[in-house]
């Protein structure tokens, strides 16, 4: 028996001990999103309660299980009982739950959101199964299978759950069969473009030269997307094992992880996981006596969206400005330092261990013909149940947004797929199956997996302006269609949102957008106009209202909105007076207040703090300077 097998046995023994623990186990979700919701403070108070009450329990910190809207999540397993999950926990709630469960053995059914048992017993009676919750039920967890269940800092937890079985299988098969298996599984790049993974590998493998590189692209730059961060924080070893498999298949001896500096926790988790791999003989020379050498270095990105593009990413690793190069040659032929290089996305790599462990046939049960497997999405925006989800490809947008996400509070308006490179799709596309081809046909793209849902309170012109402003700032400046073109698009959109749009603007946006798409050097420019072109196509009337009537129906475009106090509702409580940063609201206590529109900066503070719905935001019709002047002279 070799050392890894021994380590695995030991890991399983420890895992079984944990599963059959004689004392309660408290699981806290402490990924970045959990922390943002206050998980660390809750964790501290949990420790304090245990100390004060002299209660014995083991605390396990886990990654994100998905439903971010329920964060912070605290789960407790009592000896011999199924794990029970509690949502939106604060220190007070944690105290109540722990005292009740650990002292009185009462699971506080009302506070629980779900349990992880096979079926309900007398203990969990009245609590639904966690995976039967509407948000979880339609999902298939392949890539995310360990997230929320294992301690990402413990390689033993990963090993005990069939970790590194995929790479051992790969070593037994030999690299040719690994490529065949991935081809058979039909895996396509999860970074967004959907290029068949095996094909890219084959090109690299057959390119001459001894030195080859593998790069894990963890530069998750799309605003509104956090799938890669969650996976790296919740189960870093799955991505690292995927890197071993990919490197073995293409014959690379050096790997890089190019990760955003904005993800400090993910970087820390990766660093720790890499040193654990070294300890267990999973990195270095002659890994597990397979004759295969491989090592991994982490490269922190320095903040440039364009570096998600393969050739720009390579330039950045080489210590240059992150500017793309024209292709061919493709990186698979001549990439980093001129050597054949494969760049795979985090999720693509995280999928590989599952394929190598369970086989291509197993993987193909998910998804549809030509679009096999699952895809993770971050479901955010104006949605009831936001969070990280994983679904089989081919599910419709309606199922994702309404069944999983619970729909929007106000009427649904649009969904943006594929981040700034994607498009804004209207209600008529809700029954579109989510796969690479149909999203492209609709004028959008699959992208890396950000789904931003918008309701009627969102202005699509403002959204298009937002995305273009983003891509314009991130344009590297190398080719003029992108550098100059996006700037013009922003200028036109800006004037439309300010109520200064001109009738010819729409056709200008259209021609300019199409030209940028055709003429740009890299993916950034080629997709940058998508948000404008799709909104023009599906929300043209809204543009026209902005231009012709100077009217923003969503009351978002600030220059077209005016706030006022509704006299019949205002009780004169002065809460709005105290928060107004410019002193625009005045009035004595107990009398309806007065809002001076000339001082108002439209920050909405009064709107948010008012308890009586007495502040209204009206979409107003902006009058031209001449109209105002005429009125004054009259």
């Amino acid at each position: 028996m070799n050392s890894l097998q021994k380590a695995k046995q030991e890991a399983r023994r420890k895992w079984d001990l944990l599963k059959n623990s004689k004392i309660p186990i408290i699981y806290m979700g402490t990924a970045t999103c959990g922390r943002a919701a206050g998980a660390l403070e809750v964790l501290e108070s949990v420790k304090k309660i245990l100390r004060e009450k002299r209660l014995k329990a083991k605390i396990v910190q886990v990654g994100c299980i998905g439903p971010c809207y329920l964060e912070p999540l605290m789960d407790i397993t009592m000896p011999g009982r199924p794990r029970i999950s509690y949502a939106n926990v604060n220190s007070e709630k944690a105290k109540k739950i722990i005292e009740s469960l650990l002292i009185k053995n009462d699971p506080q059914t009302k506070l629980a959101v779900g349990h992880f048992g096979d079926e309900s017993d007398e203990f969990t009676n009245g609590i639904p199964r966690f995976f039967d919750l509407p948000m979880l039920k339609p999902q298939e967890r392949v890539v995310l299978r360990n997230c929320g269940f294992i301690d990402p800092q413990q390689i033993d937890h990963y090993l005990a759950n069939d970790g590194y079985l995929g790479i051992i299988n790969a070593f037994h098969k030999g690299w040719q069969k690994v490529i065949c298996e991935v081809q058979e599984a039909g895996l396509r790049g999860r970074g967004g473009a959907g290029f068949p993974t095996f094909k890219k590998w084959q090109i690299c493998r057959s390119s001459p030269g001894k030195t080859k590189y593998l790069i894990c692209n963890a530069d998750e730059g799309d605003p509104g997307a956090f799938m890669n961060r969650s996976l790296l924080e919740g189960d870093p070893h799955s991505v690292l094992e995927g890197m071993l498999i990919a490197a073995y298949a293409i014959g690379a001896s050096q790997g890089y992880i190019y990760i955003r500096a904005e993800y400090p926790l993910a970087i820390a988790r990766l660093k720790r996981a890499i040193s654990q791999m070294r300890e267990y003989g999973l990195l270095g020379k002659n890994i597990q006596k397979s004759g295969f050498d491989f090592d991994i270095v982490i490269k922190e990105g320095a903040g440039a969206f364009v570096c998600g593009e393969e050739t720009a990413l390579i330039s950045s690793i080489e210590g240059k400005r992150g500017m793309p190069k024209s292709r061919p040659p493709f990186p698979a032929v001549a990439g980093l330092h001129g050597k054949p290089t494969i760049i795979n996305n985090v999720e693509t790599l995280g999928t590989l261990p599952n394929i190598l462990r369970n086989g291509a046939t197993w993987y193909k049960q998910f998804g549809t013909q030509g679009n096999h497997g699952t895809k993770t999405f971050s479901l955010v925006g104006k949605i009831r149940r936001s969070g990280l989800i994983e679904v089989p490809l081919g599910m419709t947008l309606r199922q994702i947004i309404f069944d999983i996400g619970g729909g929007t509070r106000k009427p649904f308006k649009a969904v943006q797929t594929g981040g700034p490179s994607g498009g804004c799709l209207s209600e008529e596309f809700l029954d579109t199956p989510v796969n690479y081809e149909s999203l492209t046909a609709a004028g959008s793209i699959m992208g890396s997996g950000g789904l931003i849902v918008m309701d009627e309170d969102t202005c699509v012109v403002d959204v298009a302006h937002y995305f273009l402003d983003f891509t314009q700032q991130e344009s590297c400046g190398k080719c003029s269609p992108c550098r100059v073109g996006t700037r013009h698009l922003v200028e036109i959109l800006e004037r439309i949102t300010k109520g200064q749009g001109r009738p010819e603007d729409l056709s200008k946006l259209q021609t300019l957008g199409e030209t940028i798409k055709r003429g740009s050097l890299c993916g950034l420019g080629q997709t940058a106009p998508n948000p404008v072109l799709t909104t023009l196509r599906y929300f043209r009337p809204e543009y026209l209202l902005h231009i012709k009537e100077k009217y923003c129906p969503a009351a978002v475009c600030r220059e077209l909105v005016e706030y006022r106090v509704v006299p019949g509702k205002c009780t004169g409580c002065q809460r709005c007076v105290s928060v107004c940063p410019t002193g625009a609201i005045t009035g004595p206590r107990a009398e309806p207040h007065n809002l001076d529109p000339t001082k108002c900066i439209k920050c909405r503070a009064c709107y948010e703090i008012c308890r009586f719905d007495a502040i209204a935001g009206d979409a107003i019709v902006i009058r031209s300077r001449r109209e105002v002047a005429d009125e004054q002279t009259q």
Partner: protein
Amino acid sequence: MIDREWGDIFSGFAGEQGDLIPILQRVQEKAGYITKGAIEAISQFLKISENQIFGVASFYSQFRFTEPGRNSIKVCMGTACHVRGGQILGDVLERELAISAGQTTEDKRFDLQRVACLGCCALAPVIQINDDIYSRMTVIRLKEVLEKYE
């Protein structure tokens, strides 16, 4: 000769161009920003021109060339935050602190940056002060949050 102050910045690096960004990151971590002296020292160490170094450093949004405040505020400009009013938070902060994004207050108490997505989109809008992340932020809560930092 490389300035003694910067000597340990280069430990562990081979002196290749590929080391440039990690070195700049280390400088920023230590000094808070990319100083002129650091660029001179890096130029000597990597044997590339100061212009080239500045060219690379200014390409990436992470690097700053002015002294940061004691506390750094980052306002997330991600899509989810935008849809939920992140822009407004940024505007109010600029007003409250009387600086624009990218600047530091006169008393050096705060500096303000508008940053790309922080990756907490489900809890939007989000701001980050030093290492603390504040989720579901509102204009009203801003004031009390700022008071926590001296």
